[in-house]
Each structure stands twice: as C-alpha cells, then as structure tokens.
Symmetry: C2
Subunit: 181 residues, 2 copies
C-alpha cells in the first residue's frame, strides 16, 4: 500500500488535492513549490514456467496470501523492460533458469491499480529452489494444481487459459480485466 | 518528470536512499516513520483509430514534441482498466468515438520508465476534433503519414507494424522494446 501524500516529496511543504490547470482529475499539488504528485497503476510481471507436462508454482513466504501458491511474479522496476522484469522475478522467487516465451496474459486489476502480465516460459533445467519470498517451489501437472490455494485471481485465470489453450493446441495472447471481487 | 523524493509524503520528515530489509534495490525510506516510497514504470495507453483506408493522428499542443503528430494516448489512471484508458485518452485528445479492437503493440521504453500500449480501433463516425492538448486532428492514408513529424518512436513503430500487417492481411499483437536512443 502506498504511503499517503500529505507533504511534498520535493520541498516538504503541505499539499492540497486539486485539479491542476489543463488536467481533468484532482492531484496532490504542493502549496509551496507547485510540484504535482501523480499516482498511476503499477505493472506486476511474471512467468509461467513449463517442464514437460508440468508447470512451476511458488508457495508465498510473504503477505498477502502467505502460504498460498502463485506463479513467480512481482512489481516491474524502473529501468527494465517488461520481459526483463519477468526474467528477474522468476530468478528471484524461484532461482529458476528459464527461456522466456510469448506474452500470455495481461489482466487489468483496476480496484488495486495494477496490471498483471504473465509470459509463457520453459525451464532450462531443474535447478530451482525457493527464493527469499518463497517457502517452496514445485512442479505440478494440471491434475495436481491446488486450485483452492492459488494466491491471486489473475494467476488462477492465467492457469485456466494455459490449460485450455494447451488442450486446444493453440496458445493465444489473452488480454482482459478482472471484475470487482 | 517526477518530483524528487527529498521528504516523506506521509509525515514530512527527511528520507534516505537505502535497501529495505528483504529488498534488493535502494528505495527512499523515511528516517522518522519508515515509509518506503517506491517509483515504478508507468503505462501510456492509446488507440490507432481507423476510418476506411485512413488512420487518425493528433498534432500535439503540449510538450514534449509540441507541433508533432501522434496517436491519441496518455498516462493510464488509477481505477481504470487498460482498455478504459485507451477509450478515455482517445476521447480526451481527439473527441473521437471509437469501437476498441485488439491490443496491438506493447512497447517497453526502459530509459524513461514507461510501457506504451496501443489498441486498434475503428472510428464510429467522423465527428472528431482537437481536445485541449491537441492542435489538430486529421485522417491520413499511408502515403500521407508525416513520418518525419511523428512525435514518439513507439508511435512510429506502431504505425509501421500497422501498415506492414495491413499489407500482409493479418494483424498480430506486437510486444517489444525500444532500444536506447
């Protein structure tokens, strides 16, 4: 959760919420230096690593959803590309070596100001292990997926698209939105 | 350009740049309340509106690239989906009524911490006009595109993909990155 904007990060003066000239939405504007402090949606980027008929999931060691299973993913950082973020997060969460495939899902989650992007990926070897934010990393066949313990709805949706596409023999790109919970 | 982070937006105290516990990158952390102030890439979202063999471009009334031509696009806002952002920006920049089509390009621009997304779209009517941040809105055939006056490299790349795909008869989704200038 982002800290509130009570003070200007540039000069330390107080801010007011108002519509800047030429803008259409209220923003936090500094009462002293006039700096405008925007807040915008964040990208959460990860991968769906395959090994034969199995896919890799991570069990979360952090909140939210501690103890539940997810794909390796996390916030995209400044200075990197979306693909680089997917590779980095997969390495950080699962110490996994992957070859990145096509972008697979891109799902807007407007009520939490996020956009979730997952790439298909292929594990290069079985030398993976839990990173600092992960309790366990395991490979699952479709039948083994712990559907009731998937941490996030975007991840469950991505997994459903994956197994549906695999059955159909054609992997497509799936952009979409998550409805309100 | 984002204002610098010299002070905590939550309590107004000074911040230091350091790696928070469990993190891997330096962040601005408040010396008093401990709030962590993250900065992440922003999404710029827009559309490529078609009318018969023409596409709609906007001439920019604002910096950067005042006077140059671009597709209607702008920063995605909190609380909206990527598709909603494309519709809103097209309405704001060009007062244009469109039916949104498929996501067409998604281009990382890491040196400015942005990801640019453009949807294909169809104009519903010819009742468009310049919005507040636009000098002019016009329809262009491929031969008329002012290639030397296109405001951004991601937009030029998107237009090239569009005309290439149109010639081939198959529109694909084009994810990619922009190399350093």
């Amino acid at each position: 959760m982002d800290p509130p904007i009570n003070y200007c990060s540039s000069c330390g003066a107080t801010v007011n919420l108002r519509v800047p000239m030429g803008d259409t939405l209220p923003r936090h504007v500094c009462n002293a230096c006039g700096s405008i402090h925007y807040r915008n949606p964040r990208l959460v980027v990860g991968s769906l690593p395959e090994w034969e008929d199995k896919i890799l999931l991570c069990r979360r060691a952090i909140e939210p959803r501690h103890g539940m299973w997810t794909l390796p993913a996390g916030f995209m950082e400044n200075g990197e590309t979306v693909a680089q973020a997917a590779l980095r997060e997969t390495r950080e969460e699962a110490n996994a070596n992957i070859a990145l495939g096509d972008m697979f899902t891109l799902i807007s989650v407007p009520h939490i100001n996020q956009v979730h992007v997952v790439y298909r990926a292929t594990l290069i070897d079985l030398d993976f292990s839990a990173g600092d934010e992960t309790l366990d990393v395991r490979l699952f066949t479709e039948e083994e997926i712990p559907w009731d313990e998937i941490a996030f709805r975007t991840i469950a949706l991505t997994l459903r698209h994956y197994f549906d596409d695999r059955r159909s023999g054609i992997f497509r790109f799936h952009p979409g939105d998550l409805p309100l919970p």
